[in-house]
Amino acid sequence: MELSYGAEHEAFRREVVEFLQTHRDQAPGSGRGASALAWQKLLIAHGYAGRTIPKEYGGYGAAPDILKSRIIAEEFAKAQVSPGLGGQGISMLIPTLLEVGSEEQKRDIIGPTLRGERIWCQGYSEPGAGSDLANLRTKADLDGDEWVINGQKIWTSTAHLADWIFCLVRTEPDAPKHQGISFLLFSMKSPGIEIRPLIDMTNGHSFNEVFFTDVRVPAGQIVGKRGEGWKVANAILKHERGSLADPNVMLSRLNGIKELMRSETIDGRRLIYSPVFRDRLMRVEGEVMAMRCNDLRLLSGAVNNADVGIAGMIVKLQTTELRHELERLAIDVMGEMGVLYGEGAPHLRGNGSWQWNYMFFLGLIIGGGTSQIQKNIIAERGLGMPREPKLAIG
């Protein structure tokens, strides 16, 4: 058990801290304006963004080092400075292309995407293909040297901001359902694309529905071969280590509740003196602490290439439920104050973030594999329990 990062990495941490002190004035706020793009370039140049992406594709070209990545994330978070651009192009398409893209795709696409010059959205989910993603129906027919795409996608975050989409479509309607899918890339400016905002229960617009009507895409804009789209989409899954929720965020939310309990009163009495809420707080703190330790174990397992059993498999299930529970506690602590919501609402605490997260994390419990799917996975892959038997009728 050795929880320090060691001398080399502590030296690296000092470098990062120094960089942040020197350059933090240049850091942008939110959004993707010119300053954000400039900041991204600076980060790439220093290896704080695109760190392990080869130089020839526009990255920094460092060898993978999980601890250094973690240090970068920690220090940027601590300094409350933008860690550079995110989004599904950077987090999902680039790793996919690195894994299975053609040399030309890597050269043409990774650089602009990494620098934020091309914004992507992801076209996977469909109304009829949620937990059962392979059931997707959006189809692409080859007409000469063009695909003609018809169908609908949903949960397309940033579709309204994106330049391009990476999209799963059914190209071989007669093949078994996992084998008839292809992975296409095309411009969101293509004629025949309609984007409708998908308002969610937070009143927010984080997602969209996207409709395709005879959208024409050059035949070459495919990653992998025809019918290999399922494999392509899953190519990067093996790199995931279940670290959906940063436990440090959870910790800072927890501290937020402590603050609330110190300031919030009922009949003039501060809520920190309510033993019942304090007990709930400590319960949540214990769970947060356990998930932090679990995360340390995962990090260490990744660094040392050690087996961590089911510790990774459970993260999504446990953290989304825990966050939802944590935010709910804050609402209960506030009582009637806790139901206030909406920009500029009088007396609003934390800018409405408690209710927002309470609802958003219910969305995350569902999204990206519902809790039911997660439990199936844990039971089957983690505990070696049998899959459900096949049905008599299909």
Binding site: D132, M201, E264, T265, I266, V339, P346, L362, I366, L391
Partner: protein
């Protein structure tokens, strides 16, 4: 021995359900939300026609003269349909305050107006159940100062206001020195708000021998009404979840055939069904079993809130991603349950009250 609803009570729920169903409950709530309406005159008129606004008001004042169990049954149906209309404040607590603590003259002025829906009454009672931000209203020489938060049925013509000393007052919405601020909440179907009193003229409701007891009764009654609203909203969510599960296919089968989904639905139903009996009992107890009324009201409110919160989450999960969107609008019920949970005291506060009432707490 009959623990259950009379034929009249079932008919009352049915006719109200028909009216609200006909007027498209979710659609109406959406418009109410989108337009940020303070009142929905069409809904209010319909409720008045059905006798809902005058439900508990005596016939001589233009009401129907029914009891508080009937009011709870109406509250349930309104929750079930996320109805954007005043009720708990304007049609239950305010009339009750007038009937129990108002003079004959005050009753004669206000009860007919409330019964007909010509006037809406807000109720400022939150501070009597636990004041946030040290809010509270003080009465002095017939005038009120201070502030009241989380006023029920806020978009009103007149307010019933509880002061810190257990007194009750009537205040006109346009009284001089009164500032009104809407407080936007997650639940967009029922406006709540804040009243600021700067030496505002008020009319005391002073006919009761023990005004504090009337306030206590208003709190008990309000808690039962919120419990009933949650009961209705939660049972609507279960129905929607079951229907969706039968419809929605994943992996080539209706998700209702998955044991996990079935058990989620069964757990919701098994937890909620006893709440129905508890709410009935609590509604009945308010007028018929005074010795049990307060404790039962606390438990109805707290337990139904806890179950309702769980149902709201689980029913949303059964809907998968759709439950999270505005497309099916399930969140209107989710949020209604969320508001009900905190009004007139969250579960922890209400349970502590139940313990105090039984002399179990210090």
């Amino acid at each position: 021995m009959e623990f259950g609803l009379s034929q009249e009570q079932t008919m009352l729920q049915d006719s109200l359900t028909r009216f609200l169903g006909d007027s498209g409950s979710l659609a109406r709530a959406r418009v109410f939300n989108a337009n940020n309406e303070g009142r929905a005159p069409d809904v209010l008129a319909g409720l008045a026609e059905l006798g809902v606004t005058g439900l508990i008001i005596p016939e001589e004042h233009g009401g129907v003269g029914l009891g508080l169990l009937d009011a709870a049954l109406v509250s349930e149906v309104l929750g079930r349909h996320v109805t954007p209309a005043p009720f708990i404040g304007s049609s239950v607590l305010a009339p009750l305050a007038l009937m129990r603590a108002g003079s004959a003259g005050q009753q004669a002025v206000w009860l007919p107006k409330l019964a007909s829906g010509a006037a809406v009454a807000g109720v400022a009672l939150s501070e009597a159940t636990g004041a946030r931000e040290n809010a509270g209203v003080t009465a002095s020489g017939g005038r009120l100062s201070g502030r009241a938060l989380f006023v029920i049925d806020f978009e009103a013509d007149v307010y019933v206001v509880a002061d810190k000393a257990g007194g009750l007052h009537l205040v006109a919405a346009d009284a001089k020195g009164l500032t009104r601020t809407r407080l936007p909440t997650i639940d967009t179907t029922r406006p709540v708000g804040e009243l600021n009193f700067d030496n505002v003229e008020a009319e005391p409701l002073a006919a009761a021998a023990d005004s504090a007891a009337v306030v206590r009764f208003l709190i008990d009654t309000g808690r039962v009404m919120y419990a009933a609203d949650t009961l209705g909203a939660a049972s609507a969510m279960i129905d929607q979840a079951v229907a969706y599960a039968k419809e929605r296919k994943q992996f080539e089968r209706a998700i209702a055939t998955f044991q996990a989904v079935k058990h989620m639905c069964a757990e919701m139903a098994a937890a909620l069904e006893p709440c129905r009996s508890l709410v009935w009992y609590a509604g009945h107890a308010l007028e018929s079993l005074p010795a049990e009324a307060s404790v039962t009201a606390c438990h109805a409110k707290a337990h139904t809130s806890e179950v309702g919160t769980r149902v709201a989450k689980t029913a949303t999960e059964v809907h998968g991603g759709m439950g999270f969107t505005d497309l099916v609008g399930l969140h209107y019920w989710f949020k209604r349950i969320g508001l009900n949970r905190q009004m007139l005291g969250g579960p922890e506060a209400v349970r502590e009250d139940a313990a105090r009432l039984q002399a179990l707490a210090a």
